[in-house]
């Protein structure tokens, strides 16, 4: 959605009017890009979480986001549970769902080739998407508004809606929490060890199965949270949310697959790039730009900006 530029101010000194108009357009695009970027960053958090602990590329990520968004929709908009309670219920529900997914689908594959696990997530993605479409159809739903207007911030004459502020705050909090979790908590260290070398971790007494279960559960929880915020901003629609799930790939590759901070910066860069392409070049190119960037990065700097340089060049 490219921003609609206001008609340039008439009269007065023509040059200054145009310049102001262009500057405003530029800043509007920048702000919009930053907010879209934060969304991507938020969506990428859960993905990085799973990758960090089990080095599985989760192609079902977008559908996990959609599940969270729809669960919240059912609880908050249809069952009319108070928002805060519905929010926590959704988080808990998705946490349990993560456990179930791990137990049913991924546990049988422990020790199997990674290629099998990746294809399994491709299958899971089709499965979840089909199920959601079957239940809810391809319609666009919306949550009732519940964030207070007072949360919005004005920058000059550009208004930043409260959702973006909330998502900014939430992603910063999660960034800090996850950074600390992976660095200091014993579970986080177990997760890193499992991702690094499953067999070695197993022989050193790490409970690999528990680590997997926990990381999928936490990832599903983060997905639910991101999904809800996505739903607030752009409405709840299976297709659009699962598309955002695929945008996660350029984001995490740009930022470096293992790095949560990288995911956030990558998300912002991709978001800004997208809106600028949409604003200045062409709207249709907007959707593809992230993937073009992705291919270029893979060719030039495959471990991303902040990833660990440990790709084997075989």
């Amino acid at each position: 959605m490219p921003p609609h530029p206001h008609p340039p101010p008439r009269g007065g000194r023509e040059g200054r009017g145009w310049r102001r108009f262009f500057m405003e357009f530029f800043f509007q695009l920048l702000i919009q890009g930053l907010s879209v970027g934060f969304l991507y960053a938020l969506a990428a958090l859960g993905f990085v979480m799973i990758f960090k602990s089990s080095s599985v590329l989760n192609f079902a990520h977008g559908d996990l986001l959609a599940i969270g968004a729809f669960l919240f929709l059912v609880l908050a908009a249809w069952a009319k549970i108070p928002f805060l309670l519905a929010f926590f219920l959704t988080l808990i529900g998705c946490f349990i769902l993560g456990f179930i997914i791990e137990r049913l689908f991924l546990r049988p594959l422990i020790g199997e080739a990674l290629i099998m696990v990746i294809m399994l997530t491709v299958g899971l993605a089709a499965m979840f998407k089909g199920l959601l479409l079957f239940i809810f159809g391809g319609n666009l739903f919306a949550y009732p508004t519940f964030l207070p207007e007072g949360l919005s911030i004005r920058l000059g004459n550009i208004n930043i809606p409260p959702v973006y502020v909330a998502s900014f705050v939430i992603s910063i909090i999660f960034l800090l929490l996850f950074g600390l979790f992976f660095k200091y908590s014993s579970q986080g260290i177990y997760m890193r060890s499992v991702a690094d070398n499953q067999t070695a971790a197993l022989s050193l007494g790490v409970h690999v199965r528990r680590v997997f279960a926990l990381s999928w559960a936490i990832a599903a929880l983060v997905c639910a949270m991101s999904g809800i915020i996505l739903g607030i901003i752009s409405g709840v629609n299976v297709h659009s949310i699962s598309m955002i799930g695929l945008k996660v790939f350029p984001v995490v590759i740009l930022g470096g697959l293992e790095s949560i901070g990288g995911a956030i910066i990558g998300g912002i860069i991709i978001g800004v790039l997208e809106t600028f392409t949409g604003g200045y070049i062409s709207t249709s190119l907007r959707e593809v730009v992230p993937y073009i960037v992705l291919v270029l990065i893979l060719l030039v700097k495959p471990y991303g900006l902040f990833g660990l340089v440990e790709i084997e060049r075989v």
């Binding site: 590329l57 689908f105 089909g130 291919v295 495959p302 790709i311 060049r313 075989v314």
Partner: protein, 356 residues
Amino acid sequence: MRKLKFHPCGNYKEKYEEELTIFETDYGRASMLIGLLILFVVIPWISSSYTLYIINHIGIFAIAAVGLNLLIGFTGQISLGHGAFFGVGGYTAAILSTKLGFPFPLSLLSAGIMTAIVGLVFGLPSARLKHLYLTIATLAGQFIIQFIFVQWESLTGGLQGIILPRANLFGLSLKSDFAFFYVVFISLVAMLWIAKNLLRTRFGRAFVAIRDNDRAAEGMGIPIFHYKLMAFAVSSFYAGFAGALWTHYLASITPDPFTLFLSVEFIAMIIIGGLGSLTGSVFGAIFITSLNEILSLASEYFMNLPALAGIALTIAPLREFIFGLAIVLFIIFEPRGLAEVWRIIRSSFRLWPFSY
């Protein structure tokens, strides 16, 4: 005259050539000949036009699935862009035969070669990356190619697509499903024959070595990058060839079918059929195409009952669900797919009554 041999009750091979034979006994060769005879002589005469339409689809998708299996099943590189490559072949054939007036067989071959070149471009990241990253590169390829299909209107006709003239081969018009049956299945048999023999050569063994352990393969002096790219090119060639056949068969092309879902469908075919098995790819194509057909028949059936018309509309997404479920179940319970089931059935007949 050679003597017909039975299966020996142990491994008595003395030469490498014996290890490499396709048919261990002459019975295998004979049963294949009988199978081909039934395929080409009996099936087209007894099936209706509608059945032939489905069988032709199976044949076309089987060619593409064989290509994908060469890449995923034998070389161990996952591609999520096979649907788009299929489309590249289709568009190349359409453009060549409408704008440049290429004859039908030549347009098939050039579509294959063109797609192989496109596949090479997206295989290039494999120089530095392992399959994990490569999968993402092919995902990007899928979206970029899809974008080009829609946006390059002067060449691809945009959303309207292109309408092709009827294909004709050596002056014979290929209008009927019956005539096309022979084109499709002669190509399929030829492609299977090529793939089977490719796998017996140096190249095929290098592919399998890369799949099993790339470091060891590199250590043994296999230029990995070279062979990965080659696997990409061969696999894309198959996809492009099949796509071109499909486009000529339907006589029109639009960007709609070549989505990520088509790529997932191809992956489903080879997982369900069996990774690393050429017969498996054919089984997978049969399974998925028939499943598709059964589901659309079911929704048509419900559509005609007024009380259940509502259900009919909701069945379409179930297709995706069932594909996903099939992939997941096969990976968990029978990772080697239908080919393995088929092998078990055959060997239990052979070993009966002492099958343990």
